[in-house]
Each structure stands twice: as C-alpha cells, then as structure tokens.
Subunit: 482 residues, 2 copies
Amino acid sequence: MPAAVAVVGRTRKCEVVPVSTAESRNTAPGDRPARTGEDALRLPVEVPSTALFTDHYELTMLQAALRAGTADRPCVFEVFTRKLPEGRRYGVLAGVGRVLDAVEHFRFEPAQLDHLRTHGVVDEATLDYLAGYRFSGDILGYPEGEVYFPGSPVLRVEGTFAECVLLETVILSILNHDSAIAAAASRMSSAAAGRPLIEMGARRTHELAAVAASRAAYIGGFTTTSDLAAGFRYAIPTTGTSAHAFTLLHDNERDAFEAQVAALGRDTTLLVDTYDVREAVRTAVEVAGPELGAVRIDSGDLLLVAHRVRDQLDRLGARDTRIVVTSDLDEYAIASLAAAPVDAYGVGTQLVTGSGHPTCSMVYKLVARARSTEPGAPLEPVAKKSLGGKTSLGGRKWAARRRDAEGVAEAEVVGTGPVPAELAEAQLLVELVRDGEVVGREPMDVARERHAAARAALPLSATQLSKGEPVIPTEYLAPRTG
Amino acid sequence: MPAAVAVVGRTRKCEVVPVSTAESRNTAPGDRPARTGEDALRLPVEVPSTALFTDHYELTMLQAALRAGTADRPCVFEVFTRKLPEGRRYGVLAGVGRVLDAVEHFRFEPAQLDHLRTHGVVDEATLDYLAGYRFSGDILGYPEGEVYFPGSPVLRVEGTFAECVLLETVILSILNHDSAIAAAASRMSSAAAGRPLIEMGARRTHELAAVAASRAAYIGGFTTTSDLAAGFRYAIPTTGTSAHAFTLLHDNERDAFEAQVAALGRDTTLLVDTYDVREAVRTAVEVAGPELGAVRIDSGDLLLVAHRVRDQLDRLGARDTRIVVTSDLDEYAIASLAAAPVDAYGVGTQLVTGSGHPTCSMVYKLVARARSTEPGAPLEPVAKKSLGGKTSLGGRKWAARRRDAEGVAEAEVVGTGPVPAELAEAQLLVELVRDGEVVGREPMDVARERHAAARAALPLSATQLSKGEPVIPTEYLAPRTG
C-alpha cells in the first residue's frame, strides 16, 4: 500500500473543492455541501482539517479547564461587534457557509497532534481530548447575507466550554474577513444601481482570501469574478479578456485586436487605453465591426473618457458596444459615474480590502455558563467588567428587527429574557448546527437575495455613502424582574 | 484500487505542509523545501496546484496569443510599485519563498482543466497547452526581507509570453499581501526597539492569509505568533495562555488563576483585566507567588495601567514578573509605550491589516519582448503610453543600492543598460528560478536577518513613523546612446 502510506501524515489546511467535476457543471453559484473525507474517500487522513486555524491560547485554556474539572461546564459564546467601522450605516454578515464547513472539518489529524506534542503546546490529557474532538453542540446565527448592527448576536455557539472555546479563532477569522468584504460589496452594488459589478481583486490580497472575497462579494451583490479559483470552488461566473501586456506583446495595437477577435470573437472586450484611446476605439471597431462586445478603459478621467468613447462608438455605428471601466474604483467612484455612459464596473483593490475597513471587529465572548455540569444547572450570565471600554452584555441573547407599518426596519432589538410576542415573528437567529450536525447550509444565491432584501428593508439613508451613524439603533431588552 | 480512484479529481487549492512530522521537529523557523506531489507521493493528482489562483483573462490572452502565433515570443515581465503607501518611508519585500512554492506547484490538474472546458473559459488548443504547463524560464528578484522603493524591480520573470503571463495573478497576490504585512511588522518592530512582539491577528483576517501574515511578520521582526497553523507550517514559535472567557468560566478569578497555574505552571501569563486590575494582580501573585511569569493587560490606558501594575508587582516582590500588553496596538501605540514598563507587545488587527495599508500596489508588467521567436531576436522595450498616470518604464532592468562612505543607502538606482562598474557589487537582483528550477530557496531566518540589516543601512529617518517621502530617491539610468 505505498500510496496509502505516502498519504499518511500529509495534511493540508485548505478549502474543500468538489470531489467530482460533475458537481461543478451547470450549477448555480453556491456552497457545495462539504463532505467529510471519511465518507467520501474512505481515507481518514484526507480530511482537510481546519483545527489548527486556532490560537495557541485556546488549547492552553482547554488544558487548564480539563485539569480544573471546568471544561465540561455548559457555556454560551456569542459573536458580535461593539461598533461598526467608522461611519458605516450597516454591516453585512458573510462567511456563515464557510463557518459551517470549518466546524465540520475541525478535527485534529495525527500529524497535527504530533506537532502539538513535540512542541509542548499541551499535555497528553489535552491531546487525548483533541484527538476525539467533534463539536457536538448547537450553533444559531443570523443567516448569511443578513445585515447587522452593533450588538447584534450574529452567531451563538452553545456546548461545553471545551468544545466551544476551540472554535473561536477560525469562526472569527472567517466572519471578520468575509463580512468586511461583503459590506464593501454591498455599498458598491448599491452605488452601481443595477449595473453589473466584476470582482477582480485577486491580485491585491492573499490568494485564498481572494477566493473567499469573491464569494462574499457575490453575496454582497457582485455579478462575476475574475478569479478562476472562485469559479472552481463556488461556481461564481468568471470573466476576463485581456490586459495591456497582450497589446504590448504584439507589433501594434491592430495586430493585438485582430488576434483577440480571431480567438475570442467579436463579442469580446477590447482594452483601449494602451496608447491613444481615440485611435484604439477606431481600430477596435474597424477590426471587430459594430458587433464589438465592449471596450474597457483602465486609466484616465473615467467620466470624461467614457463620454467621449460613447460618442465615438455611436458615431462609428457601434451603438450596442458596451463600456467597461476598471481603474481603482470604490463605491464613491462608482457613484460618481452614475450619469456616465458606463455599462459595467470592475473593482479590485478597494473591494478585497473592504474599502478602508479590511476587517470587522467581531469578537467571540463567553456570555453565560453553568457553575456545574449537573443536568439542569442554570446558565448564569457572565461578562468582563473592568474599565476600559471592552465591556459587554452577559446572558444568552435573542435578536429581532422591529419594523414600522411599511415594513421598514426601525430598530435592532436584542434581549436576554423572553421574546415579546410582537417580535416573535421578527427574530433573526436561525439554526445552523444542531447537536453537532450542520442543518443550516444553503445555496449562495439564497444569501445573495436575502442581502438585497434586507438592505432594501432598511431606511433609505442606509445607502448613503457618507459617514454616519448606524441606520437603526440597537435596543437592549433585559428581562423584567418582579 | 478504491483509494486511488477516490482520490482522482480531488484537488485542493492550498499550501503544502510537511509530509512527515519529523520535518516539523526542532527546526528553526523556515520555509521547508516544497516537494512536488509526484516525487513525494507518487500520486500525480495529489499535487496541491496553485494554477487556478489566476485571473480569467490570463487564459484568454493565452488563447489569443497561441492562435496568433505570438505566445512563444520571448518576454520580460517585471513586478514593481509606482509608489509606496502614503507617507511610508520604505517597503519590505515578503512572500518570495511563497512565490517559489506557487511557481513550482503551478500545474493544471485534470479536474481544473475539466472545469475550464465545461465553462468554456478557453478552447481545446489552450487546454492542451495548460495540461503540459511547466514554467521553464528564469526568475530574478530582490531577496526576501530586502527593502524596496518606488520603481524597484522586485521581481523579473523571463520566458515566453505564454509561460510568464499565467503567473501574474498568483505572484501579485502573494507579494502584495505578504509585503503589506511585512512593512507593518517592520515599523512595529522598529518602534518596539528590541522588546518581543507577538503576532496575534489570526482572528482578524482570512484563516490562510493569517498563516502567511505570521510568516511575513516574522520576517519583519516579530518574535512569536499565536497561530498554531503558522507554527505547524512554518515552524514559527507559538505562544498563548488564556482569554477573559477562561476567567469568566470559573466561579471567581482566584479559581481561574489557580486552575491556570496548576495546569501551566507559575511561569504562565495571567490575564488581569477581567474585573479589577489591582485586585487581579494581588490575587495573581498570591496564587503563583513572585515566580509568576507575566501578567497581561488587554484594555484601558496601557501606559498608566502598566506603570501601576509594575509598581504593584514590585511591591509584592514579583520583580521578575513581566508585563505583556495587547490592546489594539499599532506602531504608534507601541512607540508611545517606549518609556512604559512593558516587556512584550501582542499585536493583532493592525498587523494583519498592514496598519492602514492592507495591500501594496505592485503590478506585473510586460517591459520587453522580441518580435519573433527566432533565436537571437532582440528584446525590445515596451510600455503603456496613454495618458492617465499608469505609464511605466520599458526595458529589462537591473537595480542597485548606492551607499555613502559609511555604508548608508543614498539612492535606489534602476537602469536598463549596462551596470556601471561602481554599482556592480551593489546589485539587488538575485537568481530565484533558473530554467524553471527553483534555485533561490532559503530559511526564513535568513530573510529576517536580511531585513534587519537592510533597514539598519537606511538613513535614520527611515524609522520615523510620521508620514514622509521615501527615505531614498529612485534614480533611473538609461543606457547612453551615441
């Protein structure tokens, strides 16, 4: 069995991709159900483990709690943010589907355990616990694409201290990254007002962060991506035609355009700003005819150039030829081009860096725990209390969005007691994991549509790009005592 | 052969991790030589391909060039940045080791080719080319950890258009991300002036970006990381003890401290700001004795609190107990604590987001190409020429750093002609890949030491944190004509 032996100890920290290519055919964009390696491949070592995307201290806390006998205390952890990035009106939750994958694949492989042992990270009793680790608790949360506000309990993780504390780092990594991208995407898509948005930021961020960014951008309203890995992993439609290098490779611009049209057809997009835009547009229409699909402008004063190019195209009879612009765009630049004859926007840097806010400030906090592992031991609220601004509200929380008579959101209501009857139907948390089994998986298009609907139900000022307060307040409802 | 069959078509987009755990033992931090899957595992489908970390348009350009007969023209592409992030005095090149891994694993798997075919990304002739793709050219570049300036040709990729153009996206992803983190790390490590820096930003960025960020931070001068995956992959020392959740889990702070000291020893770091810092410090020393390793402060006015805690520890006889601070630090906060009795800094968000600049603006540009594939056809400089600021300098470039009599850098000299004799020994580009074979791999500690030396050889103003111009100018030397 040389093959099997060779595979032992080889573990990769990565995302799962479709096991058979049939799965990637003709499917709508979406998270494909992750499979456990055991079931799919009958090779236990082939599970793409997420267990080491974890801070060292989660394991030392576990060791200390195991020894103290407190590791099995029932606990509730919640993910929330104390504030939105400066000036933002709403947040967009993304990454939930990836969190479910990560929880499902959170298993310590022999090679990982060996590493922890060799480096003395934790003791043998803790390694034994890790070797058998499977999350067996419950996770509820806001569904993916939903908007959120300061204090929104976007994820609630319940189980023993041991099983919950280990998930902190990877859950925060995913939600903080993906939600930052989705928030930028949402602002850009609302500024684009229906015009297609192409995600093309792969080159501006880590190569795997780029794949997650494409996914988050799609949920936030983007249409396509340049990133082939995102097409492969998430079935997001990919697009692209050529760069300046292609024009420069050839002896002249006409040769380049002819080569491209010969290979990709008249419906292709020709890049017209390598030398002189006016001359390039003329050459482009000469080469491709008025059936030319589109021209792309990647530099200069886009507003001015777009108008000139539109005029020129129209005069050349290329009335259906579209204009794509792609130079350092952000939501403000997109908004400023609303009146320009632009047919699509390509966005890179500012999207994958969250348009000034590359991460959210979500935290994962213990909000309640029992004092014993006796069945029926009550969950008691807990919270950090020292001065310095990092306080938070203890207790297991529910959340609901209160709407006015027209259905417009007017408050995020977060509470720790019973849910008032009038808010029962407006609750936000849904079941994602029950008794360790993922129950909340859904296609990406559902999250994308949910986001569009949730944003549309916010007060109109939500889509103002200028800095401001969260568009609705967060109200806390404590249980009535006496 | 059920196992082998099951593995077919399963491909992961990921980093390579050590094949045997023996490799991860007792090694200094470093990039382990990547192996190709074929050699190591005898399972061709097990190669962790990086080929889809690629923009769609790289492949359509390839298709058009193949059809036009220009795909095999000899080309030179260069990576450079037109400017540093606003106010930064120098850039730090990181990710070179990861680029070498990515180039080595840039191979299109059957499942990936099927995906491209099914989605009509490129035609059969192009798929044939991709199926046999191996980079066979040369790559030269600044060695990892070196500083760079606007116009520095940090990487030069030479080969046919076809083989070079495909590498654009993944090379830029890696260098733009990793260099952004290393630049922030370098500023923080110079502000820390020798005090240890702990990287703890995993939860604030994509889970795999976090691993690369730990690596870049180490090169930029950080000491340890909280990220177990970074320890596993790159052998960076990991550290961590406990969070507020651990204190809150227990019935009171004393119980928590006792549990931690019992499990982790007196030399552990106790977190003292869950309730009242003064009381916590007293309890900590009562529980652990004066041998207590450290206390951590994660909120409040760190300067004030650190002084008070130091006084209190000293009065309690815990003179060797260290103080670790970890609350939203950046290079400015670190500098402001220079006079405080702080023994180590933990940095998260601001490190992994590049301290305001989460990406660099490196581009990958065709700078020279031959007009034919005839042997000896001359390489001609090419460059985009249209108005709008995105122009660049054509021609294959060398680079050297001119120094004054004391060895202090005074200019980055970039040229396209022969290298002046007086700069021959000061050249910056080194061989990384020769005829497709990686020749430039090195341990991470070499890059880390190189960075410290390169920064030390800059004018003193390089380490000013205030905004300013690049600390040395970039001079262009064109070949003398006539």
